[in-house]
């Protein structure tokens, strides 16, 4: 038979157990890993274009905390290599202050990106970690407006002749006049033709539906002003602008929505890093449409 513990011993045991529990519970501290970290050193954003004599690429280091960028040089060596000629250029770092006061690094190099060439851009940290992107500049193409006999109402066929890999930001701008209670007014409106291009044997075809666009303009004017529909609108000038872009420059869904594209990995072509560097150039033509196109009536 074991002797029963005395009250004092019981109290002591409880205290001891309590102290042990306190030490145990207090000792099991847990840290939290908020940022996993990555081996990928940089994100890059920019466009190479043959239409500028200086090329620019914005470079962000991938950090383990979100703090303002300090006004010091970025630990990065930025180069571009023309893969056909094996020419390498070292780009210069520059600090740019945003409108909100934040600083950001923009690298630049004074050269013209050549039509049809491919460049390899590399941002390399001093420890050797590097992000890179291969950017193909589209070959030279031309925008061709139709001869008058080709203009079958209501469509106005515009061709991009040549080996253009991709067309984006296709915009048709109308400058028009109309009569309002205040007199004759002149305005401009732009319609997006993104997604309405199609490939043809010698390039791309964009069919501008002038009559439909003019009807849309008239509808807008009726909603907004005391527009006189009998007089209608007089189109003074049409402008079609588009970007001949490389294959990679295609936003998902055909829309450049920053809230979609901001997600890392979306429309990204940078390897061992994030971001997007595209290449392309603008084509633009202006003309005055025939009245038959505006009314949509055939001859």
């Amino acid at each position: 038979m074991h002797p029963l513990p005395t009250k004092g011993r019981t109290g002591g045991c409880v205290l001891l157990l309590g102290a042990l529990l306190v030490l145990l519970l207090g000792g099991c501290e847990e840290d939290v890993t908020a940022v996993l970290g990555t081996e990928q050193p940089f994100s890059m954003f920019g466009v190479l274009t043959p239409q500028a004599d200086t090329q620019w690429v914005r470079v962000f280091s991938i950090d383990d905390r979100l703090e303002p960028i300090p006004p010091t040089p970025l630990d990065a060596r930025f180069t571009s290599t023309d893969l056909e000629r094996d020419e390498t250029r070292v780009w210069q770092d520059s600090l740019v202050r945003e409108a909100d006061g934040m600083l950001t690094h923009v690298f630049w190099a004074p050269f013209v990106a050549a039509y049809g060439r491919t460049y390899r851009l590399v941002a390399q940290r001093s420890d050797g970690a590097a992000s890179h992107v291969v950017v193909a500049v589209p070959p030279l193409t031309d925008m061709v407006l139709p001869a008058q006999m080709e203009q079958v109402p209501p469509l106005f066929p515009v061709r991009v002749v040549g080996a253009a890999p991709n067309l984006i930001r296709i915009e048709v701008t109308y400058r028009y006049r109309f009569v309002s209670p205040g007199g004759i007014e002149q305005e401009e409106i732009t319609f997006s033709y993104d997604g309405r291009q199609r490939r043809v044997s010698n390039g791309w075809l964009v069919e501008v539906n002038v009559a439909q666009d003019v009807r849309a303009i008239e509808t807008l004017l009726r909603e907004r002003t005391a527009f006189d529909p009998i007089v209608g609108v007089k189109v003074v000038r049409l402008t079609i602008r588009l970007i001949v872009a490389n294959e990679a420059w295609q936003p998902p869904g055909g829309r450049f929505d920053p809230d979609v594209l901001v997600q890392p990995g979306t429309m990204s072509n940078v390897e061992n890093g994030f971001g997007f560097v595209g290449a392309g150039y603008r084509l633009e033509r202006r003309w005055v449409p025939l009245d038959t196109l505006i009314t949509g009536r055939r001859f």
Binding site: L36, R58, D64, P68
Partner: protein, 776 residues
């Protein structure tokens, strides 16, 4: 307002399904209470405590007629009772309540007479045996009925806090299924719901953010309260406009016999209360004020910055207008200020501030023309919240509302019918900005109208069924949102089975930037209205929840009570902040659905001077977000994730006793870790959508998230202990208290700013002393 009334009448008259359902419910409710007896008499009145004039709830009023027939009623929280359908004749009236001498009298009722009999019970020895006492008990840790739990001031006072100003907030965090982010922040998540989905009422007045920045405190100190009903779900048709829970607080009335007062002092708060009759027996005042002393007191105890300041002022007037009516008016003001993060790397800390104003007038009456009790209310409340420097906040949000409501209870033989209507006009304004964000400003004005009817059928002894229908008119669409609800209770012997099912809608949204591990700034906005132009899949849809609760409770002996309750909530039309890699607060909404389910188990022991309980809560909450971009980002149309309040396991244990004349309480709480989103790193983003010179294009910082809410924060646990003793000093009483908060100095995480890695922990070991003096 006129338009809303027309809309309501048009809807009731409309021959569609919604209109018919509403009309049928109204007709059914009225049929249930139609008198079936020629010229019955009615007895009604108010029952109060003679010593201080407080309304007494749950007083049994029994009328013994000729031949031994017994009719009776029970008082509500205003002390009102009503016994309808009485035959003319002589009755013996008996009013009994624990701790009071029984009131017995004889009265004669004439045919058709509506008699008012107000009774003032005298405190004295209970004449009821122990078994009856147990069955009459209405509060306690394990006493839960279909999600509803009643909290009395004594329950609150048992929870250890760093001072003697016992507070409802401390008690609420002991409930299973109630998730708090810690000892600061002032946010409660109840059974999967968000703080903005909780309806907090003080005498029927909506209080938007009553919980102070330091989690021990709210605008509801125990000594101002009469009772609190906490509905973790499954609440009845009287309550609406929120889809998660109801915290229905009843403030007590001031003493209408004599002036009394109290003052408390501790390193955390100082408080003062005064009450008394402005007109004896007719008009009383109850007033209270509290101010935190954390920055000057507690900060020195823990030797670390505790930049918190808060306070509240409360006043209530209660008047006896006539024998059968009462009127009360209250005003509550609160203010909070706290710096949730610490300065690091030159980034200044963000200060959050909010202040509430809640005021209202309430009129309760027992009209003499029909067996009905009426409750009329008019109130105004407002919440202003700011984040950032005091003179130039980067984010601010303001919500205010004007509310008119009428509730009535029609008394029948075996059926009582509650019915009511309300109009709430809500104004919203917000300005959102930030280090990485453009300013966004929103202003809205909304009108919400609701009508409801809810009969309660006493089917058999111990078997009660409440079936309700609430029609809620929000601005987001013309048709009403219909909300059928059912509550069922079956009690036999020591057992009770209870269940609740209901549908709930909410048009007002409270948005938090949940990408922060413990964000507390909330911006109030509304579900989108339908627009004629663009098609918006979110438009016209209010947040919706379906609750289902099933619980069992047993009281096998006078000292033991156990309960277990399971719940399921299906949430739809949720609107949560759109997921974005931009490090900014956004009110762009994305639709989501969700579900939350779990179970609570509670054991409560009352053994002599020993009182204790253990409760455990398991819950699982999961959202499925529907954002068009998700397919592009993750290859799926919906994103399933556990929101940041999904605490899987929760355990609370409390023990309280009196040892050598000292009241000793200890509480241990444990919570499993909350979800948060880990980041891979941070870079920047520039939109490349044109042939641009990127030096001239504005850029933005960006967060590279691993995946939304892919990780969990560390577990949370803490032990608090308090010891107190009361000394008599003549007519006054002095209470001294010593407490240890976080006894084993656990480093519990409060706030983690994933963007900057700034971590703020909850309170370390805090020793504290407090004193309270009461007179008389």
């Amino acid at each position: 307002m006129v338009w809303e009334a027309r809309r309501l009448l048009a809807r009731i008259a409309a021959p569609d399904r919604a209109g018919r359902a509403l009309a049928c419910s109204l007709a059914l409710g009225l049929l249930c209470v139609l008198p079936a007896q020629a010229q019955p008499a009615t007895l009604s009145g108010f029952i109060t405590d003679r010593s201080d004039g407080q309304a007494l709830e749950l007083v049994n009023v029994a009328l013994l007629g000729r031949g031994g027939a017994v009719e009776g009623g029970v008082t509500d929280r205003d002390g009102r009772y009503l016994v309808p359908r009485l035959a003319a004749g002589r009755y013996v009236v008996r009013a009994t309540f624990i701790g009071y001498r029984a009131y017995v009298d004889t009265l004669d009722l004439a045919p058709g007479q509506v008699r008012t009999l107000n009774i003032a019970l005298v405190p004295g020895d209970a004449e009821l045996d122990e078994v009856l006492v147990e069955s009459e008990r209405t509060s306690g840790a394990a006493r839960i009925t279909a999600g509803q739990q009643t909290v009395r001031p004594r329950d609150i006072e048992l929870v250890p806090t760093p001072d003697l100003s016992a507070d409802l907030a401390s008690f609420l965090t002991t409930l299973p299924g109630v998730v708090a982010l810690g000892d600061r922040g002032g946010q409660l998540f109840i059974r999967g719901g968000e703080p903005s989905q909780n309806l907090v009422l003080l005498d029927g007045v909506l209080v938007y953010q009553p919980f102070h920045v330091l989690g021990f405190y709210s605008a509801f100190p125990a000594d101002l309260l009469s009772k609190t009903d906490v509905y973790a779900g499954g609440f009845g048709s009287k309550f609406g406009e929120r889809i998660s829970s109801v915290i229905d607080v009843a403030a007590r009335n001031g003493n209408n016999q004599r002036f009394t007062g109290a003052a408390t002092l501790s390193p955390f708060v100082s408080a003062a209360r005064i009450e008394g009759p402005l007109l004896k027996n007719r008009l009383s005042l109850l007033a209270s004020a509290r101010q935190s002393l954390v920055e000057t007191g507690a900060e020195r105890l823990v030797n670390r910055p505790l930049p918190f300041s808060f306070g509240d002022v409360f006043a209530k007037l209660h008047g006896v207008m006539r024998a059968n009516s009462r009127i009360s008016a209250l005003v509550l003001r609160t203010h909070d200020r706290g710096t949730l993060t610490e300065e690091r790397g030159g980034v200044p800390p963000e200060e959050v501030r909010w202040n509430n104003l809640a005021s209202g007038v309430r009129f309760v009456a027992l009209p003499r023309f029909t067996p009905v009790s009426v409750d009329l209310r008019a109130s105004y409340s407002r919440l202003q919240t700011e984040l950032g420097p005091r003179r130039a906040p980067v984010r601010s949000s303001r919500i205010e509302n004007l509310h008119l409501a009428v509730d009535a209870t029609f008394f029948g033989a075996a059926t009582d019918v509650d019915a009511g209507a309300s109009l709430r006009v809500v104004s919203l304004a917000s300005e959102l900005g930030g280090l990485y964000q453009n300013i966004e400003t929103r202003r809205e004005q909304l009108e919400h109208v609701a009508v409801y009817v809810e009969p309660e059928f006493n089917l058999a002894p111990g078997v009660r069924l409440r079936t309700g229908l609430r029609a809620q008119f929000f601005d987001v669409r013309f048709d009403p949102f219909l909300e059928p609800r059912v509550r069922f209770v079956w009690a036999w012997g020591p057992h009770q089975l209870s269940s609740a099912v209901g549908v709930y809608h909410q048009a007002i949204l409270g948005l938090n930037d949940r990408r922060d591990a413990a964000s507390v700034f909330t911006v109030w906005t509304n579900a989108p209205r339908p627009t004629s132009g663009l098609e918006d899949v979110r438009a016209g849809r209010a947040q919706r929840a379906v609750h289902a609760i099933l619980g069992y409770r047993a009281t096998p002996s006078a000292w033991l009570e156990v309960s277990i309750e399971g719940f399921y909530k299906r949430l739809s039309n949720l609107f949560i902040g759109e997921w974005t890699a931009f490090p900014r607060f956004t009110t762009r909404l994305q639709p989501a659905t969700g579900r939350s389910y779990g179970a609570d188990a509670r054991v409560e022991v009352r053994f002599g001077k020993l009182y204790g309980y253990v409760n455990y809560g398991y819950s699982l909450t999961r959202y499925a977000a529907e954002q068009a971009s998700l397919v592009l980002w993750y290859g799926r149309e919906t994103l399933d994730f556990h929101p940041p309040h999904d605490r899987r396991h929760q355990l609370n244990a409390l023990v309280s006793s009196t040892v050598l004349g000292f009241d000793v309480s200890a509480r241990w709480e444990f919570g499993s870790g909350l979800p948060f989103s880990q980041a891979v790193g941070f870079d920047g983003f520039t939109l490349i959508d044109d042939i641009v010179k990127v030096a001239a294009v504005p850029g933005s910082r960006r967060v590279i998230y691993a995946r939304p809410f892919n990780a969990r924060l560390p577990t949370y646990h803490r032990l608090d202990v308090s010891v107190e003793r009361t000394f008599r000093l003549g007519a006054a009483a002095l209470t001294l208290q010593g407490s240890l908060i976080n006894l084993y100095d656990r480093r519990n995480l409060f706030y983690l700013d994933v963007f900057t890695l700034r971590r703020v922990d909850q309170l370390p070991l805090v020793p504290s002393i407090g004193l309270k003096i009461e007179y008389p």
